[in-house]
């Protein structure tokens, strides 16, 4: 079974090499999609393995897949299929070195896989930093005139933020000095939580969460996100918003598990509640007056990361399981939305909301899924986001976080008002039928993303064992 663990690392790397070798060929765009499918299939089969038996381990425990990692691998694969298949640039728009674009996407997938299968917190850090490195040029390759500015801010803030997390990792290693031979192995730290130095762990946990929150796009460390996510090309925005944020968030969950085991849940609860409510507030405020629809989607990602932070702060089986499912639901919908946004911007040549009218009449192939996806992002049933958001809020109320959840609900209403106003302005109204309908195989991934986000609502029963196993892997999440 250990061989299975290697697939998500080696396949994208190999395909990246192939992409570089044939960088002038358009077909190289197929390679990252293949990697995504491999990630999805590996994730699903690893879920089967770890739920029925023990976690899969390789190279003396450096790599380890438990239920959480397996679930996240499957999520990355599923979302990447939608983002990369749907977002593949048209042949007429593809640059002459399209293969290097495909290769960088593959390296990006490999970096995310490494962050998920690493057991050593230091290695997780290395992998998260690698995601910044591999996406830097992907962001800079956006066709907007400000892609360079966005890439600069993204790399500087990303690198500095993640450097703070490294300080946390270093202090974690200091806290474990004399106890753990494995350095900062996550399993070893969890097992020896009782013997760790609490003062050191407190500071280490706070710094690590603060640092990784930069990559997870949580306020107040979010300022790079709207720029990078709005300027990057569609498949990159889709992947970054859909999964990169949540991969960083899953690392936060692991740091939280260690810190909670050593110093109790209060510290992390306060930090995550603050970050969550602040993210919701920032997103709500800026979505009301947003004039750029890609930025609107980016702020929506901050909002959803805020919800995840609230769920993690609440803790407990219901909230954490809902958080994990929400990661998948949001990832699928958000990557679909960025794919559609990329097509809208290709059709209208503008990112501005006021330049887009009557999409439902002019381009029903774009307008209909855009409106439907918006409903998903706002948490309408039958989308799975409805059930997960309700579960997080209800769990919060039952665990005594009443007023925080009330504030969150109020902020969600503001988000609702802002998004509805902007998206209705884009989709409704008069419009004349415009040409440009894409071939069927480019329309499939959009509906695939939206329909699977709905189907998940009815698949809660078969999914519950893996979600429960992932919560247990996090130490039961008090």
């Amino acid at each position: 079974m250990a061989a299975l663990l290697w697939l998500p690392l080696t396949v994208p790397l190999l395909l990246a090499a192939v992409g570089f070798a044939f960088r002038a060929s358009y077909w190289t765009l197929l390679l990252p999609v293949i990697s995504a499918v491999v990630l999805l299939l590996t994730g699903v089969s690893l879920i089967g393995t770890v739920v029925s038996s023990a976690p899969v381990v390789a190279i003396e425990g450096w790599l380890r897949v438990d239920a959480l990692s397996a679930w996240m691998l499957a999520v990355v694969g599923a979302v990447a299929v939608v983002a990369l298949w749907g977002g593949a640039p048209l042949r007429s728009k593809a640059s002459t070195s399209i293969g290097s674009f495909a290769a960088l996407l593959n390296l990006f997938l490999a970096a995310m896989s490494l962050a998920l299968v690493a057991d050593n917190v230091g290695l997780m850090w290395v992998a998260i930093e690698l995601t910044t490195v591999t996406t830097a040029f992907l962001v800079a390759s956006g066709d907007g005139e400000h892609a360079l500015e966005a890439a600069w801010k993204y790399v500087v803030l990303g690198a500095v933020g993640v450097a703070i997390a490294f300080l946390g990792v270093a202090l974690l290693s200091a806290a474990a000095m004399g106890h753990s031979e494995a350095g900062v192995s996550w399993t070893a730290l969890m097992a020896q939580a009782a013997t760790l130095d609490p003062t050191m762990v407190q500071l280490a946990g706070a710094l690590a969460v603060l640092g990784f929150a930069t990559k997870a796009g949580l306020a107040p460390m979010h300022s790079w996100l709207p720029d990078a996510h709005s300027q990057a090309p569609a498949p990159v925005s889709g992947l970054m918003s859909g999964v990169l944020l949540s991969v960083a968030f899953s690392v936060i969950l692991r740091i939280q598990a260690i810190t909670d085991a050593v110093v109790g849940p209060e510290l992390m609860r306060t930090l995550l509640l603050t970050a969550g409510l602040l993210s919701l507030a920032v997103a709500a405020g800026l979505m009301l007056t947003q004039t750029d629809y890609k930025r609107l989607l980016a702020y929506s990602s901050i909002e959803h990361m805020g919800l995840l932070a609230l769920g993690a702060a609440v803790g407990g089986e219901l909230a954490i399981a809902a958080v994990l499912l929400h990661i998948l639901g949001h990832g699928l919908i958000k990557s679909t939305m960025f794919v559609i946004a990329g097509r809208i911007s290709a059709a209208t040549g503008s990112h501005r909301i006021e330049d887009v009218h009557g999409l439902l009449r002019a381009r029903p192939d774009l307008g209909a899924p855009f409106l439907l996806g918006t409903a998903g992002l706002l948490g309408f049933p039958p989308f799975v986001t409805f059930f997960t958001e309700v579960a997080i809020i209800v769990a919060g109320f039952t665990r005594g976080l009443g007023w925080q959840m009330a504030v969150a609900c109020a902020l969600l209403l503001v988000v609702f008002a802002g998004v509805t106003r902007q998206v209705l302005a884009m989709t409704l109204g008069a419009g004349t039928r415009a040409p440009g309908r894409l071939v069927w195989w480019r329309r499939v991934p959009v509906w695939l993303g939206l329909l699977s986000a709905m189907a998940l609502s009815f698949a809660l029963w078969p999914l519950s064992p893996v979600l429960i196993a992932a919560v247990t892997a996090l130490g039961g999440a008090q």
Binding site: H146, V160, A163, T199
Partner: protein, 219 residues
């Protein structure tokens, strides 16, 4: 190693680390700032060697070699190359008074001591006693990122920050496993190379590398 000698060495090396960071905040020449970065890297390597020899680590020479090569040679050389490519050797004038910059730096060092001393524990060894210097470097790196406008100095600030983190890591726990150290050095190198490429593109696109002019994207 003789404990007295060990304490003296740690004190000297951390003194050099702090001094180079302060000089970087004081000076306005980019070339000298990059030179100071190289000295800082060498001091960091010396710190790794001292801590490692004192603890009797088997891989100490290897780690020292990597740190020396990366922090003192490769990274400064890469930055010097970017600076030469865009033809910028002086920091862009700011509205902040140099005295204010230095007073800020002193204040941050003080904060680092306030935070760092309790962490060292009740009866610290010389290495943990020097922990506040690492925190100072981190904060001074942030300070550079905040007060300077040239993209190259932003990079210097990032590397000072990174050196500070490495200092904390080596003083507090004798460093992380070799694989992690290698991985993180590689990451930092890649970040610096990428930012170097972006700086050159920026110079070509807009004719300057003043990051305060990067304000097209906002809400």
């Amino acid at each position: 190693m003789n404990q007295h000698l060990f304490a003296q060495l740690i004190a000297t090396i951390t003194g050099v680390l702090l001094l180079t960071a302060i000089l970087q905040i004081w000076g306005r020449s980019l070339v000298r700032s990059i030179g100071l970065l190289s000295v800082q890297g060498a001091a960091l390597a010396a710190l790794v060697l001292t801590v490692g020899l004192n603890a009797g680590e088997p891989q100490v020479w290897l780690v020292t070699g990597i740190v020396l090569l990366m922090k003192s040679v490769v990274l400064p050389a890469a930055m010097l190359r970017s600076a030469k490519l865009i033809g910028e050797t002086r920091e862009r004038p700011t509205t902040i008074n140099p005295a204010v910059e230095l007073i800020g730096a002193a204040g941050l060092t003080l904060i680092a001591y306030i935070v760092g001393v309790p962490l060292a524990g009740p009866d610290p060894d010389p290495a943990r006693q020097a922990l506040p210097v690492g925190f100072s470097l981190v904060l001074l790196g942030f300070w550079l990122l905040m007060i300077r406008r040239s993209a190259i100095t932003q990079l210097v600030g990032f590397l000072v920050l990174d050196n500070g983190i490495a200092t904390v890591s080596f003083l507090a726990s004798g460093g992380l496993p070799l694989t992690v150290e290698l991985g993180s050095s590689l990451d930092v190198l890649l970040v610096v190379l990428i930012l170097g490429v972006l700086v050159v593109r920026m110079q070509r696109q807009q004719g300057h590398t003043d990051i305060t002019e990067l304000k097209e994207l906002h809400d």
